[in-house]
Amino acid sequence: MTQKILAAHAGLETVKAGDLIEAKLDLMLGNDVTVPPAIDVFYRTGATRVFDQDRIVMVPSHFAPNKDIKSAEHCKKMRLFAAAQGITHYYEQGSKGMGIEHVIVPENGLVLPGYCMIGADSHTCTDGALGAFATGVGSTDLGCAMATGQTWFKVPQAIRINLSGQLRPHVAGKDLILYVISKIGVDGALYRSMEYTGPGVAQLSMNDRLTICNMAIEAGGKNGIFPVDQVTLDYIREHAPQAYAQKNYQVFTADPDAEYVQTLDIDLAEVPLMVAKPYLPENGQDVRLVAAADQAAIQQVVIGSCTNGRYDDFKVAAELLRGRQVAPGVRCFIIPGSQAVYLRCLRDGLLADFVDAGCVVGPPTCGPCIGGHMGVLASEERCVSTTNRNFVGRMGSPESQTFLAGVPVACASAVMGRIASPDELPELVKA
Protein backbone atom coordinates (compact mmCIF):
# COMPACT_ATOMS: atom_id res chain seq x y z
CA MET A 1 0.00 0.00 0.00
CA THR A 2 2.87 2.36 0.91
CA GLN A 3 4.66 1.40 -2.30
CA LYS A 4 1.58 2.20 -4.40
CA ILE A 5 1.20 5.65 -2.84
CA LEU A 6 4.90 6.38 -3.38
CA ALA A 7 4.79 5.16 -7.01
CA ALA A 8 1.80 7.38 -7.74
CA HIS A 9 3.54 10.42 -6.28
CA ALA A 10 6.79 9.70 -8.13
CA GLY A 11 4.94 9.39 -11.45
CA LEU A 12 5.96 5.74 -11.77
CA GLU A 13 3.94 2.64 -12.62
CA THR A 14 5.48 0.65 -9.82
CA VAL A 15 8.31 0.92 -7.35
CA LYS A 16 10.06 -1.77 -5.37
CA ALA A 17 11.69 -1.81 -1.97
CA GLY A 18 15.09 -0.16 -2.03
CA ASP A 19 14.35 2.17 -4.97
CA LEU A 20 15.35 5.76 -4.40
CA ILE A 21 12.66 8.05 -5.74
CA GLU A 22 11.69 11.70 -5.73
CA ALA A 23 8.04 12.12 -4.88
CA LYS A 24 5.58 15.03 -5.00
CA LEU A 25 4.21 15.99 -1.61
CA ASP A 26 0.57 16.76 -0.83
CA LEU A 27 1.29 18.17 2.60
CA MET A 28 4.20 19.10 4.86
CA LEU A 29 4.37 20.00 8.49
CA GLY A 30 6.62 21.64 11.02
CA ASN A 31 6.68 23.12 14.52
CA ASP A 32 8.40 25.84 16.53
CA VAL A 33 11.50 23.65 17.07
CA THR A 34 11.97 22.39 13.51
CA VAL A 35 10.64 25.23 11.32
CA PRO A 36 13.16 27.95 12.32
CA PRO A 37 16.14 25.93 10.96
CA ALA A 38 13.99 24.93 7.95
CA ILE A 39 13.42 28.61 7.13
CA ASP A 40 17.20 29.17 6.95
CA VAL A 41 17.54 26.12 4.71
CA PHE A 42 14.66 27.35 2.52
CA TYR A 43 16.46 30.62 1.77
CA ARG A 44 19.80 28.86 1.26
CA THR A 45 18.27 26.90 -1.64
CA GLY A 46 17.83 30.23 -3.42
CA ALA A 47 14.04 30.11 -3.21
CA THR A 48 12.06 33.17 -2.21
CA ARG A 49 8.48 31.86 -2.30
CA VAL A 50 7.14 28.57 -0.95
CA PHE A 51 5.95 26.13 -3.62
CA ASP A 52 2.35 26.18 -2.36
CA GLN A 53 1.11 28.16 0.63
CA ASP A 54 -1.89 25.84 1.06
CA ARG A 55 0.16 22.68 1.52
CA ILE A 56 2.35 23.71 4.46
CA VAL A 57 1.23 23.39 8.08
CA MET A 58 3.02 25.30 10.83
CA VAL A 59 2.17 25.00 14.51
CA PRO A 60 3.79 26.52 17.60
CA SER A 61 3.28 23.42 19.76
CA HIS A 62 6.52 22.40 21.45
CA PHE A 63 7.70 25.30 23.60
CA ALA A 64 4.45 27.21 23.29
CA PRO A 65 2.97 28.98 25.16
CA ASN A 66 6.54 30.31 25.00
CA LYS A 67 8.53 28.98 27.92
CA ASP A 68 11.39 31.48 27.65
CA ILE A 69 12.81 34.24 25.47
CA LYS A 70 14.69 31.89 23.12
CA SER A 71 11.52 29.87 22.45
CA ALA A 72 9.59 33.08 21.95
CA GLU A 73 12.11 34.14 19.29
CA HIS A 74 11.65 30.81 17.48
CA CYS A 75 7.87 31.16 17.52
CA LYS A 76 8.23 34.75 16.31
CA LYS A 77 10.50 33.69 13.45
CA MET A 78 7.97 31.07 12.32
CA ARG A 79 5.04 33.49 12.74
CA LEU A 80 6.72 36.20 10.63
CA PHE A 81 7.69 33.73 7.91
CA ALA A 82 4.15 32.30 7.81
CA ALA A 83 2.71 35.82 7.51
CA ALA A 84 5.19 36.86 4.81
CA GLN A 85 4.55 33.72 2.77
CA GLY A 86 0.79 33.70 3.38
CA ILE A 87 0.86 30.18 4.88
CA THR A 88 -2.81 29.14 5.04
CA HIS A 89 -2.41 26.55 7.77
CA TYR A 90 -0.41 28.48 10.33
CA TYR A 91 -2.16 27.91 13.66
CA GLU A 92 -1.60 30.59 16.26
CA GLN A 93 -1.99 29.64 19.92
CA GLY A 94 -5.61 30.02 20.90
CA SER A 95 -6.87 30.16 17.35
CA LYS A 96 -9.58 27.84 16.14
CA GLY A 97 -7.99 24.61 14.96
CA MET A 98 -4.77 25.07 16.96
CA GLY A 99 -3.24 22.21 18.89
CA ILE A 100 -0.52 19.59 18.86
CA GLU A 101 0.45 19.04 15.19
CA HIS A 102 -0.53 15.40 14.91
CA VAL A 103 -3.81 15.95 16.68
CA ILE A 104 -4.91 18.83 14.46
CA VAL A 105 -3.78 17.60 11.04
CA PRO A 106 -6.45 14.86 10.90
CA GLU A 107 -8.90 16.82 13.07
CA ASN A 108 -8.87 19.80 10.69
CA GLY A 109 -9.21 17.53 7.67
CA LEU A 110 -5.79 18.45 6.30
CA VAL A 111 -4.68 14.90 5.52
CA LEU A 112 -6.69 12.65 3.23
CA PRO A 113 -6.44 9.02 2.13
CA GLY A 114 -3.74 8.54 -0.50
CA TYR A 115 -1.75 11.61 0.51
CA CYS A 116 2.02 11.61 0.50
CA MET A 117 3.20 13.84 3.33
CA ILE A 118 6.26 14.65 5.41
CA GLY A 119 6.68 16.50 8.66
CA ALA A 120 9.76 17.79 10.41
CA ASP A 121 8.63 15.87 13.45
CA SER A 122 9.11 12.15 13.93
CA HIS A 123 5.48 11.54 14.92
CA THR A 124 4.20 12.66 11.52
CA CYS A 125 3.66 8.92 10.96
CA THR A 126 0.40 9.39 12.94
CA ASP A 127 -1.43 10.35 9.75
CA GLY A 128 -0.99 6.91 8.20
CA ALA A 129 -4.13 6.05 10.15
CA LEU A 130 -6.12 7.62 7.31
CA GLY A 131 -4.53 5.49 4.60
CA ALA A 132 -1.93 8.10 3.73
CA PHE A 133 1.85 7.80 3.49
CA ALA A 134 3.20 10.05 6.24
CA THR A 135 6.71 10.10 7.62
CA GLY A 136 8.99 12.22 9.77
CA VAL A 137 12.01 14.03 8.35
CA GLY A 138 14.46 16.71 9.45
CA SER A 139 14.53 20.46 9.06
CA THR A 140 16.75 20.38 5.95
CA ASP A 141 14.22 18.09 4.27
CA LEU A 142 11.36 20.41 5.23
CA GLY A 143 13.23 23.55 4.15
CA CYS A 144 14.01 22.08 0.72
CA ALA A 145 10.50 20.64 0.34
CA MET A 146 8.94 24.03 1.11
CA ALA A 147 10.89 25.31 -1.90
CA THR A 148 10.32 22.40 -4.29
CA GLY A 149 7.18 20.53 -3.18
CA GLN A 150 9.13 17.29 -3.44
CA THR A 151 11.47 15.12 -1.47
CA TRP A 152 13.49 11.93 -1.83
CA PHE A 153 12.52 8.59 -0.35
CA LYS A 154 13.98 5.14 -0.22
CA VAL A 155 11.02 2.83 -0.89
CA PRO A 156 10.60 0.76 2.28
CA GLN A 157 9.99 -2.93 2.70
CA ALA A 158 6.75 -3.70 4.49
CA ILE A 159 5.93 -5.55 7.68
CA ARG A 160 2.38 -6.84 7.83
CA ILE A 161 0.57 -6.75 11.13
CA ASN A 162 -2.45 -8.95 10.64
CA LEU A 163 -5.18 -8.31 13.19
CA SER A 164 -8.09 -10.52 14.18
CA GLY A 165 -10.52 -10.69 17.10
CA GLN A 166 -11.57 -7.93 19.47
CA LEU A 167 -9.86 -5.87 22.13
CA ARG A 168 -10.77 -6.60 25.75
CA PRO A 169 -12.35 -3.96 28.00
CA HIS A 170 -10.12 -0.92 28.69
CA VAL A 171 -7.54 -2.21 26.17
CA ALA A 172 -6.97 0.25 23.32
CA GLY A 173 -4.67 1.23 20.48
CA LYS A 174 -1.90 2.28 22.86
CA ASP A 175 -1.74 -1.19 24.38
CA LEU A 176 -1.69 -2.78 20.93
CA ILE A 177 1.23 -0.67 19.69
CA LEU A 178 3.20 -1.16 22.93
CA TYR A 179 2.50 -4.90 22.54
CA VAL A 180 3.76 -4.88 18.94
CA ILE A 181 6.91 -2.92 19.89
CA SER A 182 7.57 -5.30 22.79
CA LYS A 183 7.55 -8.13 20.24
CA ILE A 184 9.65 -6.60 17.46
CA GLY A 185 11.82 -4.12 19.40
CA VAL A 186 12.64 -0.46 18.97
CA ASP A 187 14.43 -1.19 15.69
CA GLY A 188 12.15 -4.04 14.62
CA ALA A 189 10.68 -1.98 11.80
CA LEU A 190 13.81 0.05 10.98
CA TYR A 191 13.51 1.57 7.47
CA ARG A 192 10.25 -0.39 7.01
CA SER A 193 6.57 0.41 6.76
CA MET A 194 4.15 -1.13 9.25
CA GLU A 195 0.99 -2.10 7.38
CA TYR A 196 -2.07 -3.17 9.34
CA THR A 197 -4.44 -5.67 7.75
CA GLY A 198 -7.01 -8.29 8.67
CA PRO A 199 -10.52 -8.52 10.07
CA GLY A 200 -9.45 -6.94 13.38
CA VAL A 201 -8.87 -3.58 11.66
CA ALA A 202 -12.60 -2.84 11.48
CA GLN A 203 -12.80 -3.11 15.30
CA LEU A 204 -10.37 -0.24 15.77
CA SER A 205 -11.64 3.32 16.04
CA MET A 206 -9.88 6.17 14.25
CA ASN A 207 -8.56 7.26 17.63
CA ASP A 208 -6.97 3.83 18.13
CA ARG A 209 -5.51 3.88 14.62
CA LEU A 210 -4.00 7.34 15.13
CA THR A 211 -2.35 6.16 18.37
CA ILE A 212 -1.05 3.00 16.70
CA CYS A 213 0.43 4.82 13.69
CA ASN A 214 1.80 7.57 15.96
CA MET A 215 4.22 5.12 17.55
CA ALA A 216 5.44 3.42 14.34
CA ILE A 217 8.60 5.49 14.85
CA GLU A 218 9.10 3.89 18.27
CA ALA A 219 9.64 0.60 16.40
CA GLY A 220 12.02 2.41 14.04
CA GLY A 221 9.35 2.35 11.31
CA LYS A 222 9.29 4.71 8.37
CA ASN A 223 5.51 4.84 8.52
CA GLY A 224 2.45 3.06 9.81
CA ILE A 225 -0.57 2.67 7.58
CA PHE A 226 -4.14 1.44 7.83
CA PRO A 227 -6.38 0.44 4.92
CA VAL A 228 -9.20 2.84 4.06
CA ASP A 229 -12.54 1.48 5.26
CA GLN A 230 -15.90 2.76 6.54
CA VAL A 231 -14.27 4.07 9.73
CA THR A 232 -11.90 6.19 7.61
CA LEU A 233 -14.64 7.45 5.32
CA ASP A 234 -16.89 8.35 8.27
CA TYR A 235 -13.97 10.25 9.80
CA ILE A 236 -13.22 12.31 6.71
CA ARG A 237 -16.92 12.97 6.12
CA GLU A 238 -16.96 14.59 9.56
CA HIS A 239 -13.56 16.33 9.47
CA ALA A 240 -13.09 17.14 5.78
CA PRO A 241 -16.68 17.39 4.48
CA GLN A 242 -15.78 19.29 1.33
CA ALA A 243 -13.02 16.91 0.29
CA TYR A 244 -15.32 14.01 1.13
CA ALA A 245 -18.17 15.39 -0.98
CA GLN A 246 -15.87 16.07 -3.93
CA LYS A 247 -14.16 12.71 -3.42
CA ASN A 248 -10.90 14.60 -3.35
CA TYR A 249 -8.95 11.65 -1.99
CA GLN A 250 -7.56 8.41 -3.33
CA VAL A 251 -8.00 4.95 -1.91
CA PHE A 252 -5.01 2.65 -2.37
CA THR A 253 -5.29 -1.01 -1.46
CA ALA A 254 -2.60 -3.61 -0.92
CA ASP A 255 -2.47 -6.32 -3.58
CA PRO A 256 -3.51 -9.76 -2.36
CA ASP A 257 -0.02 -10.99 -3.29
CA ALA A 258 1.83 -7.97 -1.85
CA GLU A 259 5.28 -8.83 -0.52
CA TYR A 260 5.98 -8.52 3.18
CA VAL A 261 9.33 -9.17 4.83
CA GLN A 262 7.57 -10.24 7.99
CA THR A 263 4.03 -10.99 9.09
CA LEU A 264 2.89 -10.65 12.66
CA ASP A 265 -0.47 -12.28 13.45
CA ILE A 266 -2.17 -10.75 16.46
CA ASP A 267 -5.46 -11.75 18.02
CA LEU A 268 -6.62 -8.48 19.59
CA ALA A 269 -8.05 -10.44 22.53
CA GLU A 270 -4.51 -11.49 23.53
CA VAL A 271 -3.38 -7.88 24.00
CA PRO A 272 -3.18 -6.97 27.70
CA LEU A 273 -3.16 -3.51 29.24
CA MET A 274 0.49 -2.58 28.76
CA VAL A 275 3.14 -0.59 30.58
CA ALA A 276 6.53 0.13 28.98
CA LYS A 277 9.19 0.53 31.63
CA PRO A 278 12.15 2.90 31.36
CA TYR A 279 14.18 3.48 29.26
CA LEU A 280 12.87 2.03 26.01
CA PRO A 281 9.37 1.79 24.50
CA GLU A 282 10.10 -1.91 23.81
CA ASN A 283 10.09 -2.67 27.55
CA GLY A 284 6.33 -3.29 27.52
CA GLN A 285 4.68 -5.80 29.82
CA ASP A 286 1.23 -6.66 31.09
CA VAL A 287 0.37 -4.00 33.68
CA ARG A 288 -0.49 -6.71 36.21
CA LEU A 289 3.09 -8.04 36.06
CA VAL A 290 4.58 -4.58 36.35
CA ALA A 291 2.25 -3.59 39.21
CA ALA A 292 2.95 -6.82 41.10
CA ALA A 293 6.70 -6.31 40.90
CA ASP A 294 6.75 -2.55 41.46
CA GLN A 295 4.60 -1.05 44.19
CA ALA A 296 6.74 2.07 44.57
CA ALA A 297 5.10 5.49 44.61
CA ILE A 298 4.79 7.60 41.49
CA GLN A 299 4.88 11.39 41.55
CA GLN A 300 3.33 12.36 38.23
CA VAL A 301 0.82 11.28 35.63
CA VAL A 302 0.46 12.90 32.21
CA ILE A 303 -2.61 12.30 30.07
CA GLY A 304 -2.40 13.88 26.65
CA SER A 305 0.10 14.30 23.76
CA CYS A 306 -0.05 13.45 20.07
CA THR A 307 -0.35 9.81 21.10
CA ASN A 308 -3.34 10.05 23.46
CA GLY A 309 -4.60 13.63 23.41
CA ARG A 310 -7.88 13.33 21.52
CA TYR A 311 -11.44 13.62 22.79
CA ASP A 312 -11.96 9.84 23.02
CA ASP A 313 -8.96 9.62 25.32
CA PHE A 314 -10.33 12.22 27.73
CA LYS A 315 -13.79 10.65 27.64
CA VAL A 316 -12.23 7.41 28.90
CA ALA A 317 -10.18 9.36 31.46
CA ALA A 318 -13.23 11.21 32.79
CA GLU A 319 -15.16 7.96 33.19
CA LEU A 320 -12.39 6.61 35.41
CA LEU A 321 -11.56 9.80 37.32
CA ARG A 322 -15.10 11.09 37.88
CA GLY A 323 -15.92 10.77 41.58
CA ARG A 324 -12.38 9.66 42.43
CA GLN A 325 -9.37 11.56 43.72
CA VAL A 326 -5.79 11.75 42.51
CA ALA A 327 -3.63 10.18 45.25
CA PRO A 328 -1.78 12.50 47.63
CA GLY A 329 1.76 13.04 46.37
CA VAL A 330 0.77 12.68 42.72
CA ARG A 331 0.47 15.52 40.22
CA CYS A 332 -1.86 14.59 37.39
CA PHE A 333 -1.68 16.71 34.23
CA ILE A 334 -4.52 16.65 31.73
CA ILE A 335 -3.51 18.19 28.42
CA PRO A 336 -6.17 18.26 25.70
CA GLY A 337 -4.41 17.94 22.34
CA SER A 338 -6.20 20.79 20.59
CA GLN A 339 -8.44 23.77 21.14
CA ALA A 340 -11.31 21.72 19.69
CA VAL A 341 -10.65 18.85 22.09
CA TYR A 342 -10.38 21.32 24.98
CA LEU A 343 -13.66 23.02 24.06
CA ARG A 344 -15.53 19.75 23.70
CA CYS A 345 -14.18 18.52 27.06
CA LEU A 346 -15.24 21.85 28.56
CA ARG A 347 -18.75 21.78 27.10
CA ASP A 348 -19.29 18.15 28.07
CA GLY A 349 -18.24 18.81 31.64
CA LEU A 350 -15.12 16.62 31.51
CA LEU A 351 -12.80 19.42 32.61
CA ALA A 352 -14.89 19.86 35.75
CA ASP A 353 -14.54 16.14 36.45
CA PHE A 354 -10.77 16.44 36.10
CA VAL A 355 -10.48 19.49 38.32
CA ASP A 356 -12.77 17.88 40.91
CA ALA A 357 -10.53 14.82 40.90
CA GLY A 358 -7.50 16.98 41.67
CA CYS A 359 -5.93 17.22 38.21
CA VAL A 360 -4.17 20.16 36.59
CA VAL A 361 -5.73 20.99 33.22
CA GLY A 362 -3.31 22.62 30.78
CA PRO A 363 -3.50 24.15 27.31
CA PRO A 364 -2.62 22.11 24.19
CA THR A 365 1.17 21.72 24.11
CA CYS A 366 3.89 19.10 23.69
CA GLY A 367 5.56 20.57 26.84
CA PRO A 368 5.80 17.72 29.37
CA CYS A 369 6.27 14.90 26.83
CA ILE A 370 9.63 16.35 25.76
CA GLY A 371 10.64 17.56 29.21
CA GLY A 372 10.23 21.03 27.81
CA HIS A 373 7.94 22.80 30.23
CA MET A 374 4.65 22.47 32.11
CA GLY A 375 5.43 19.26 33.98
CA VAL A 376 9.18 18.60 33.93
CA LEU A 377 10.35 15.75 36.20
CA ALA A 378 12.91 16.16 39.00
CA SER A 379 15.57 13.54 39.79
CA GLU A 380 14.26 10.28 41.28
CA GLU A 381 10.70 11.12 40.20
CA ARG A 382 8.57 8.49 38.49
CA CYS A 383 5.86 9.28 35.99
CA VAL A 384 3.16 7.23 34.28
CA SER A 385 2.50 8.90 30.96
CA THR A 386 0.28 8.38 27.93
CA THR A 387 3.03 9.91 25.77
CA ASN A 388 5.34 7.99 23.44
CA ARG A 389 8.92 7.94 24.70
CA ASN A 390 10.51 6.89 27.99
CA PHE A 391 14.16 7.53 27.09
CA VAL A 392 16.70 8.75 29.65
CA GLY A 393 15.90 12.39 30.42
CA ARG A 394 12.96 12.52 27.99
CA MET A 395 10.56 14.14 30.45
CA GLY A 396 13.08 15.94 32.61
CA SER A 397 15.96 14.89 34.83
CA PRO A 398 18.14 12.06 33.47
CA GLU A 399 17.53 10.46 36.88
CA SER A 400 13.74 10.49 36.43
CA GLN A 401 11.73 7.56 35.10
CA THR A 402 8.83 7.44 32.66
CA PHE A 403 6.44 4.50 32.33
CA LEU A 404 4.40 4.55 29.11
CA ALA A 405 0.81 3.41 29.24
CA GLY A 406 -2.64 3.95 27.82
CA VAL A 407 -5.26 6.22 29.37
CA PRO A 408 -6.97 3.69 31.72
CA VAL A 409 -3.68 2.60 33.32
CA ALA A 410 -2.59 6.24 33.66
CA CYS A 411 -5.87 7.13 35.42
CA ALA A 412 -5.75 4.11 37.71
CA SER A 413 -2.12 4.90 38.58
CA ALA A 414 -3.01 8.53 39.37
CA VAL A 415 -5.69 7.39 41.81
CA MET A 416 -3.67 4.56 43.38
CA GLY A 417 -0.43 6.54 43.59
CA ARG A 418 1.50 3.66 42.00
CA ILE A 419 1.44 1.75 38.73
CA ALA A 420 -2.02 0.17 38.65
CA SER A 421 -4.56 -1.50 36.43
CA PRO A 422 -8.08 0.02 36.25
CA ASP A 423 -9.35 -3.29 37.66
CA GLU A 424 -7.72 -2.33 40.96
CA LEU A 425 -9.75 0.86 41.35
CA PRO A 426 -12.13 0.70 44.32
CA GLU A 427 -15.82 0.74 43.39
CA LEU A 428 -17.42 4.13 43.58
CA VAL A 429 -19.91 4.47 46.39
CA LYS A 430 -23.16 5.96 45.05
CA ALA A 431 -24.05 9.11 46.97
Binding site: V33, P37, G46, G138, T140, A147, D187, I370, G371
Partner: protein
Protein backbone atom coordinates in the same frame (compact mmCIF):
# COMPACT_ATOMS: atom_id res chain seq x y z
CA UNK B 1 37.28 17.87 9.55
CA UNK B 2 40.16 19.67 11.16
CA UNK B 3 43.39 19.39 9.20
CA UNK B 4 45.45 19.08 12.36
CA UNK B 5 43.74 15.92 13.46
CA UNK B 6 43.09 14.16 10.17
CA UNK B 7 45.54 13.60 7.39
CA UNK B 8 44.53 13.11 3.79
CA UNK B 9 44.99 9.57 2.51
CA UNK B 10 44.94 8.21 -1.03
CA UNK B 11 41.82 10.03 -2.13
CA UNK B 12 40.60 13.33 -0.79
CA UNK B 13 37.95 11.81 1.45
CA UNK B 14 40.23 9.11 2.80
CA UNK B 15 41.50 10.11 6.16
CA UNK B 16 43.37 8.90 9.14
CA UNK B 17 41.33 9.15 12.29
CA UNK B 18 43.72 9.40 15.14
CA UNK B 19 41.34 11.15 17.48
CA UNK B 20 39.72 9.76 20.59
CA UNK B 21 37.05 7.13 20.13
CA UNK B 22 33.76 7.50 21.95
CA UNK B 23 32.15 4.10 22.17
CA UNK B 24 28.42 3.70 22.86
CA UNK B 25 25.88 0.86 22.81
CA UNK B 26 22.59 0.28 20.99
CA UNK B 27 19.67 2.71 20.62
CA UNK B 28 21.49 5.96 21.34
CA UNK B 29 18.45 8.23 20.95
CA UNK B 30 18.26 11.87 19.94
CA UNK B 31 16.97 12.79 23.41
CA UNK B 32 20.35 11.84 24.88
CA UNK B 33 22.32 13.22 21.92
CA UNK B 34 20.69 16.59 22.54
CA UNK B 35 18.01 16.78 25.25
CA UNK B 36 14.84 18.65 24.28
CA UNK B 37 15.41 21.14 27.10
CA UNK B 38 18.13 22.66 24.90
CA UNK B 39 16.02 22.84 21.74
CA UNK B 40 15.22 26.46 22.44
CA UNK B 41 18.35 27.27 20.44
CA UNK B 42 19.54 26.38 16.94
CA UNK B 43 23.10 27.67 17.48
CA UNK B 44 25.46 24.75 16.69
CA UNK B 45 28.08 25.83 19.23
CA UNK B 46 25.47 26.12 21.97
CA UNK B 47 24.01 22.71 21.07
CA UNK B 48 27.51 21.16 21.08
CA UNK B 49 27.94 22.25 24.72
CA UNK B 50 25.16 19.83 25.71
CA UNK B 51 25.84 17.05 23.20
CA UNK B 52 25.51 13.56 24.76
CA UNK B 53 24.97 15.19 28.16
CA UNK B 54 22.47 12.65 29.52
CA UNK B 55 24.48 9.64 28.32
CA UNK B 56 28.07 10.75 28.78
CA UNK B 57 28.50 13.83 30.95
CA UNK B 58 32.21 14.11 30.01
CA UNK B 59 31.67 14.13 26.25
CA UNK B 60 31.24 17.85 25.63
CA UNK B 61 34.18 18.77 27.85
CA UNK B 62 36.63 16.25 26.37
CA UNK B 63 35.68 15.92 22.68
CA UNK B 64 38.13 17.41 20.17
CA UNK B 65 37.98 17.98 16.43
CA UNK B 66 38.75 14.74 14.62
CA UNK B 67 37.39 12.45 17.36
CA UNK B 68 34.85 9.87 16.34
CA UNK B 69 31.91 7.89 17.63
CA UNK B 70 31.38 4.15 17.27
CA UNK B 71 27.99 2.82 18.34
CA UNK B 72 25.68 -0.16 18.04
CA UNK B 73 22.24 -0.62 16.48
CA UNK B 74 19.69 2.11 15.79
CA UNK B 75 21.91 5.14 16.45
CA UNK B 76 19.91 8.39 16.49
CA UNK B 77 16.53 6.83 17.20
CA UNK B 78 13.54 8.84 18.35
CA UNK B 79 12.90 12.46 17.55
CA UNK B 80 13.52 13.93 14.11
CA UNK B 81 15.43 16.86 15.60
CA UNK B 82 18.22 17.80 13.20
CA UNK B 83 19.77 19.47 16.21
CA UNK B 84 21.21 16.01 17.01
CA UNK B 85 23.55 15.63 14.00
CA UNK B 86 24.17 19.39 14.15
CA UNK B 87 25.33 19.07 17.77
CA UNK B 88 27.56 16.09 16.97
CA UNK B 89 29.12 17.82 13.97
CA UNK B 90 29.64 21.08 15.87
CA UNK B 91 31.33 19.19 18.70
CA UNK B 92 34.07 18.27 16.23
CA UNK B 93 33.20 14.62 15.63
CA UNK B 94 34.67 13.66 12.24
CA UNK B 95 32.71 10.45 11.68
CA UNK B 96 30.03 8.29 13.28
CA UNK B 97 30.29 4.55 12.67
CA UNK B 98 27.29 2.49 13.79
CA UNK B 99 25.91 -1.00 13.28
CA UNK B 100 22.75 0.74 12.03
CA UNK B 101 21.19 4.20 12.06
CA UNK B 102 17.61 5.22 12.67
CA UNK B 103 16.22 6.33 9.34
CA UNK B 104 15.51 9.99 10.17
CA UNK B 105 18.97 10.43 11.68
CA UNK B 106 20.45 8.81 8.55
CA UNK B 107 18.56 11.30 6.33
CA UNK B 108 19.51 14.25 8.49
CA UNK B 109 23.19 13.30 8.60
CA UNK B 110 23.34 12.94 4.79
CA UNK B 111 21.30 16.09 4.25
CA UNK B 112 23.42 18.29 6.49
CA UNK B 113 26.80 16.69 5.84
CA UNK B 114 27.76 14.74 8.97
CA UNK B 115 29.96 11.83 7.80
CA UNK B 116 28.48 8.45 8.78
CA UNK B 117 29.23 4.83 7.95
CA UNK B 118 26.97 1.87 8.62
CA UNK B 119 29.09 -1.17 9.44
CA UNK B 120 28.02 -3.84 11.98
CA UNK B 121 31.40 -5.61 11.88
CA UNK B 122 33.33 -2.44 12.64
CA UNK B 123 30.86 -1.44 15.36
CA UNK B 124 31.31 -4.80 17.07
CA UNK B 125 35.08 -4.99 16.70
CA UNK B 126 36.51 -1.53 17.24
CA UNK B 127 37.74 -0.79 20.76
CA UNK B 128 38.67 2.44 22.50
CA UNK B 129 42.18 3.51 21.51
CA UNK B 130 42.11 1.91 18.05
CA UNK B 131 43.53 3.95 15.21
CA UNK B 132 41.44 3.96 12.04
CA UNK B 133 41.88 4.90 8.44
CA UNK B 134 38.67 5.30 6.48
CA UNK B 135 37.47 6.04 2.99
CA UNK B 136 34.09 7.72 3.00
CA UNK B 137 33.70 7.37 -0.75
CA UNK B 138 34.56 3.68 -0.87
CA UNK B 139 33.15 2.93 2.54
CA UNK B 140 36.04 0.94 3.98
CA UNK B 141 37.42 1.22 7.46
CA UNK B 142 40.91 0.00 8.20
CA UNK B 143 41.69 -0.72 11.82
CA UNK B 144 45.42 -0.05 11.96
CA UNK B 145 45.65 -1.20 15.58
CA UNK B 146 44.11 -4.60 14.78
CA UNK B 147 45.19 -4.87 11.15
CA UNK B 148 41.62 -5.56 10.11
CA UNK B 149 39.60 -4.03 7.31
CA UNK B 150 35.81 -3.65 7.39
CA UNK B 151 33.51 -2.80 4.51
CA UNK B 152 30.60 -0.50 5.33
CA UNK B 153 27.23 -0.71 3.58
CA UNK B 154 27.83 1.17 0.31
CA UNK B 155 25.79 4.32 -0.27
CA UNK B 156 23.44 4.18 -3.26
CA UNK B 157 24.27 6.46 -6.21
CA UNK B 158 21.57 8.98 -5.32
CA UNK B 159 22.94 9.38 -1.79
CA UNK B 160 26.47 9.81 -3.21
CA UNK B 161 25.06 12.52 -5.46
CA UNK B 162 23.63 14.28 -2.39
CA UNK B 163 26.94 13.94 -0.58
CA UNK B 164 28.90 15.21 -3.58
CA UNK B 165 26.60 18.25 -3.68
CA UNK B 166 27.46 18.91 -0.01
CA UNK B 167 24.04 17.79 1.17
CA UNK B 168 20.46 18.32 0.10
CA UNK B 169 20.63 22.12 -0.13
CA UNK B 170 23.46 21.92 -2.66
CA UNK B 171 21.57 19.28 -4.62
CA UNK B 172 18.39 21.37 -4.71
CA UNK B 173 20.34 24.50 -5.67
CA UNK B 174 21.90 22.60 -8.55
CA UNK B 175 18.64 21.10 -9.74
CA UNK B 176 16.24 24.04 -9.47
CA UNK B 177 16.68 27.52 -10.76
CA UNK B 178 14.40 29.46 -8.46
CA UNK B 179 15.53 32.85 -9.72
CA UNK B 180 14.33 32.06 -13.23
CA UNK B 181 11.09 30.62 -11.90
CA UNK B 182 10.45 33.72 -9.81
CA UNK B 183 11.14 35.99 -12.76
CA UNK B 184 8.90 33.91 -14.98
CA UNK B 185 6.11 34.23 -12.42
CA UNK B 186 6.60 37.98 -12.04
Amino acid sequence: MSENQTKPGDAQTDCLLSGKLYCYGDNVDTDVIIPARYLNTTDPAELAKHCMEDLDADFAATVKPGDFIVAGQNFGSGSSREHAPVAIKASGIALVIAASFSRIFFRNAINMGLPILECPEAAADIQAGDQLKVSLTEGWIENLSRQTRYQATPFPDFIRKLMAADGLVGYVRGKYDFATTEEAKA
